[in-house]
């Protein structure tokens, strides 16, 4: 699954600490050429045969032109097999998503839109094999209140957000995802419940639900720390999360990952590949990847990070075909640690099969079925280990970060 990264934004959002750049004029032709070149180089290095999904993240990739998206997809299809039903997601910002523009993206090959506040670090990921339901995500104004949007430093208004979602659903019915944010400074339980209702009226079949995290170095975090904005109390945040889970499940959504809900099977194939520790290839400034460099004859999974700063990244791509800034070989233990930490975020957890793929010698049962932390956590009702594998209970999922240190510690001692 390649994840091409468009690092530019029109404006800096107050809560975002991604690798984003606001520049007066982007040399799109040069950027396009470099994304294409890097995608080709890395796909060749990975020797991936088939690509399951492509995810255009950012920055604000919807600011790029559909031609750029098309060029990258062509490059992917040229370097590996890209099935017609492969999931191709574009993150979109409500203010840059007119219907005609969205139609342009669809024509370029995008089949899922993710709209929202929540524009993530862009990563192209190449997941090998087994294409699943192609899911197109996106769209959403998660926040449907102008005051909230202003606090978040978002450029769009609630009306624009609503329009964008409607446009996306019209173009790609069933393949639009929206982001919902809760835990905004000053947000009450009631305000959240209303917001949730409104979102249900607007949404398609996929919702990403995020508690607002105050990332260091962001304007919002500074305001909260400085006392201009209140810190939401822990218990209120827990209530909001539980309310949302309950309401969404009642509305027919499957809570398939800590922050993700889907109905009618509209899970994000691309994101699932992260949580299942599949291979993914990061393309673009600051993108991260995890894959095996079969092209170099390697058999071990590497963690790779591309150069952060766009101009420097472009220079490297132009001179050597890719702008990989760091590559670290992951040890078998490190791979298992990632599998554990990511896999337990999903409702299916870590299956015996998947665990066995990374740990052919030592089964899940051998590591966590013996007396120790995992058994204690099972007895306390946070965790389940059965024929399906290792996974969190409904209650356990909400406190996963308190379970992981114990489990990792147990794993390290094996």
């Amino acid at each position: 699954a390649p994840c091409p990264q468009w690092p530019y934004c029109r404006k800096c959002c107050s809560y975002c600490n991604f690798n984003t750049y606001v520049v007066p004029a982007v040399d799109e032709a040069a950027m396009r050429a470099c994304l294409v070149r890097e995608a080709q180089t890395l796909l060749r290095l990975s020797q991936v045969h088939s690509v399951t999904s492509v995810f255009f993240g950012g920055g604000t990739p919807s600011l790029a032109s559909p031609a750029t998206v098309a060029a990258v997809l062509e490059a992917v299809a040229g370097a590996a097999h890209l099935p017609a039903d492969a999931e191709v997601t574009l993150e979109a910002n409500p203010s840059s998503t007119s219907t005609s523009r969205l139609a342009g993206f669809r024509a370029s090959g995008v089949n899922r839109l993710s709209i929202g506040v929540q524009v993530r670090g862009a990563l192209p990921a190449a997941a090998p094999a087994a294409p699943r339901d192609p899911v197109v995500t996106s769209l959403p104004p998660q926040s449907l209140d102008d005051a909230e949007l202003r606090m978040l430093g978002r450029e769009h208004t609630a009306a624009e957000a609503q329009k964008a979602v409607e446009a996306a659903r019209g173009l790609l019915p069933g393949r639009t995802s929206i982001d919902l944010l809760f835990g905004l400074p000053g947000q009450s339980r009631d305000a959240w419940a209303q917001r949730l209702e409104a979102a249900l009226g607007l949404c398609d079949n996929h919702i990403s639900l995020y508690q607002l995290t105050l990332e260091r170095g962001t304007a919002l975090a500074a305001q909260v720390r400085g006392g201009t904005l209140p810190t939401p109390p822990q218990d209120l945040l827990a209530d909001m999360y539980q309310t949302a889970r309950t309401v969404l499940v009642a509305a027919g959504f499957r809570h398939y990952e800590v922050s993700n809900f889907a109905r009618k099977g509209a899970l994000s194939t691309h994101n699932l590949s992260y949580w299942r520790s599949d291979q993914y290839i990061g393309v673009g400034p600051g993108a991260h990847g995890r894959f095996v460099l079969r092209g170099e004859g390697s058999h071990t999974r590497e963690a790779r990070v591309q150069t952060l700063e766009p101009v420097a990244w472009m220079k490297e791509v132009q001179s050597q075909g890719h702008g990989t800034r760091s590559r670290v070989v992951l040890s078998p233990l490190e791979q298992l640690e990632e599998l554990l930490s990511l896999g337990l975020r999903t409702d299916e957890g870590i299956t015996h099969e998947r665990w066995g793929y990374f740990s052919p010698q030592l089964s899940l049962q051998a590591v966590f079925g013996t007396p120790g932390e995992a058994q204690a956590l099972q007895q306390q009702g946070w965790l389940v280990l059965d024929s399906g594998g290792l996974r969190c209970t409904w209650a356990g999922l909400a406190v996963l970060d308190s379970l992981l240190p114990d489990l990792l510690w147990q794993l390290q001692r094996v």
């Binding site: 993530r120 508690q211 999360y241 949580w275 640690e337 930490s341 406190v399 990792l408």
Partner: protein
């Protein structure tokens, strides 16, 4: 020790052993004519001290409140007498430790022999520097025991301060001649007249006896030297008598072992002599004697009345106990009075941050205590903190300085537990009396606190505190003292707007933060000093802290009954802030026996999961998780509650009362 290095450049190399190559450099410019002889062998490079009979010797100290200019005056005296050359680099030449220069205090007394010609006579003036803080009053008194007089320095602007009073009485009680000096007369706000009147009122010294100087600019410093010669009597002793040498300080040199600072009260001492310690009865052969200028300068001999150093194959500083008397083998003498073992006032646990550092810390402690014999060391261990030590210090500053020296000179970071004072219990239980072999025990660790049923009385150490303050702060200071259970003993106006207060304090009430509180409520103007005032009966109890009903051994505190509720409440509140939330609710309680006196509840985590986790930078997140996993083995488990090891320290560090 950057400055020691600089000083060494000016004075010539400070060598582990005197070598011929260094000799021409080592010979200081001041060396008087009598000593100047052609050198033919290494031996003859040494100074001949026989030309300084008792009558031409003066032994003195400079005493002052902190920052009143003691070290600057010492610098000027060293310059005038040619002991060191005049340069503006001479700043606190005798304060060799980094911590001394940083904090502007003298921790380790240093000495220097000055040669000065006055009215045709060559004098040998031995300046015996003293530590400059209340914690070190014992060191001051032992330095004074080698002197016949003192220069009492008072700041012309600040006037008499608490420590001035304390130091004056130490000198006065030792019956030393006192030369009052008013320093910093060059300052704009200097008011020497007012200070002279204070000195007259408080110390009964006529105003005309005060010398007004500026040590910084050198004004009238020569006059001080002349007064030293005129007013301070020479030591009363005789070279014809058998050797009688007082050990008044000691340092440790990695190459040569213990270097003992000695004052000769009779006889003479030279290389090759066999000597005996009156305290340990151990016998040694003298390897080297010499004077301090202020670096070690070997001499042929030292004679009665003189002050210098001695190296005699002692391996540990405990062999050169302060106050000990040395005499010649088979010529025993009556030991000099004043020997007493050091009495620590403050105890604290010290533990390596990581147990793998235990041996390194052990060796650093051993080496540092070689140079600071006033620290007592007992091995100790704690369930939470592992193996460590219980250390006794002269006071809180001493503890801080010791810790700072460990960090600066040995690069060791340690965990220090909350300081506690040495309580006592008078036992009534026959069983316990038999067990301890005595009916009164000292408790330096709350874990050893005996139950009330087997005790007839608890005792707590007290100190007599002196506070000097501008009068506008009196109200607040009196309230502060009452809050600390102090009893007023005296209140005296030392001039129109300055007041001296005397209070009897329970020691534990001032140990942690009294000085800071006093400074902050008086905008820094009030000064404080204290002296040991024995023990008093006290209503003491042991307070336990419980987590979900299980006691936390290291948080047990001995506390006065009246203070238990407030302290217990505060500890619980702080623990609540310090212990991380867990998957279940935690009751944090303070208890006296079975009675719960305070409670806080730490609620369970209901949500703790990071919202966004995709293919971005999970490396950072994995690092955090692995650090937390790693931290699991450093967790102290109390029942099922996991507490980070440093949580208790963080709670305790801020003191147990406000």
């Amino acid at each position: 020790m950057a400055l020691a290095g600089r000083a060494a450049l000016r004075w010539g190399a400070r060598l582990p052993s005197p070598g011929p190559a260094a000799a021409p450099l080592c010979r200081p410019a001041w060396l008087p004519a009598a000593c100047e002889r052609p050198y033919s062998s290494r031996d003859e490079e040494k100074v001949d001290m026989s030309t300084y009979p008792v009558e031409s010797i003066r032994n003195f100290s400079i005493i002052a409140h902190v920052d009143h200019g003691k070290s600057t005056l010492a610098d000027r005296l060293l310059e005038i007498t040619g002991t060191i050359s005049k340069t503006n680099l001479n700043k606190q030449v005798l304060d060799k430790l980094q911590v001394e220069r940083e904090r502007g205090i003298t921790v380790k007394a240093q000495s220097a022999s000055l040669f000065y010609s006055h009215e045709g006579i060559n004098y040998l003036l031995n300046l015996i520097d003293t530590p400059g803080h209340v914690d070190f009053s014992y060191e001051v008194s032992r330095s004074l025991s080698a002197c016949q007089g003192v220069i009492l320095v008072v700041d012309a602007n600040e006037g008499i301060q608490a420590q001035t009073v304390a130091n004056f009485y130490l000198a006065f009680e030792a019956q030393l001649s006192i030369i009052p000096v008013i320093n910093k007369i060059d300052l704009k706000n200097a008011d020497p007249e007012r200070v002279e009147k204070q000195i007259e009122k408080l110390f009964d010294i006529p105003t005309h006896e005060c010398i007004r100087i500026s040590a910084k600019q050198g004004t009238n410093v020569e006059k001080v030297l002349q007064k030293v010669i005129e007013k301070i009597p020479p030591p009363q002793c005789n070279t014809a008598d058998p050797l009688k040498a007082l050990v008044f300080d000691s340092t440790f040199d990695h190459y040569r072992g213990v270097v003992a600072n000695i004052a000769l009260f009779g006889g003479e001492i030279a290389k090759g002599q066999k000597i005996v310690s009156a305290h340990t009865k151990k016998r040694y052969e003298v390897n080297e004697v010499g004077i301090l200028t202020p670096n070690e300068q070997p001499t042929h001999k030292l004679y009665a009345g003189q002050v210098g150093y001695l190296i005699a194959g002692m391996k540990e500083v405990t062999e050169a106990q302060i106050g000990d008397t040395l005499f010649l083998y088979k010529q025993p003498v009556e030991p000099l009075p004043g020997f007493k073992s050091v009495k620590p006032m403050v105890f604290a646990g010290m533990y390596p941050i990581d147990q793998t550092e235990y041996n390194n810390l052990k060796s650093a402690l051993e080496r540092l205590t070689l140079n600071d014999s006033s620290v007592t060391v007992h091995r100790d261990s704690s369930l939470a903190l592992g193996a460590g030590w219980r250390l006794g210090f002269l006071g809180l500053l001493h503890m801080e300085v010791f810790n700072q020296r460990l960090e600066q000179e040995y690069n060791m970071s340690v965990i220090l537990t909350a300081p506690t004072v040495p309580y006592k219990a008078v036992l009534s239980s026959a069983k316990l009396i038999k067990e301890y072999g005595k009916d009164q025990i000292t408790i330096i660790n709350p874990a050893q606190f005996p139950d009330k049923l087997s005790v007839s009385e608890y005792l707590e150490p007290t100190v007599l505190g002196t506070i000097v303050t501008p009068q506008e702060y009196i109200g607040k200071i009196i309230t502060l003292c009452q809050d600390r259970r102090a009893v007023q003993k005296d209140m005296l106006y030392i001039d129109e707007n300055r007041v001296m207060l005397k209070y009897l304090f329970p020691l534990n009430e001032i140990v942690v933060d009294f000085y800071d509180a006093l400074k902050s409520l008086s905008s820094g103007y009030a000064s404080f000093d204290y002296e040991d005032a024995g023990y008093q009966s006290a209503d003491l109890i042991k307070m336990d802290i419980l987590l979900n009903g299980n006691p936390v051994e290291e948080l047990a505190t001995i506390i006065h009954n009246d203070k238990a509720y407030a302290a217990g409440k505060l500890l619980c509140e702080r623990l609540k802030e310090t212990i991380p939330r867990q998957l279940f609710e935690i009751a944090i309680q303070a208890a006296i026996g079975k009675k719960i006196i305070a409670r806080e509840t730490l609620k369970a985590y209901r949500k703790n999961v990071v919202a966004k986790c995709y293919g971005g930078d999970i490396t950072r997140r994995m690092k955090l998780l692995k650090r937390q996993a790693e931290g699991k083995k450093l967790m102290r488990k109390i029942g099922n509650v996991e507490v980070p090891r440093d949580a208790f320290i963080r709670v305790l560090k801020r003191g147990t009362d406000k």
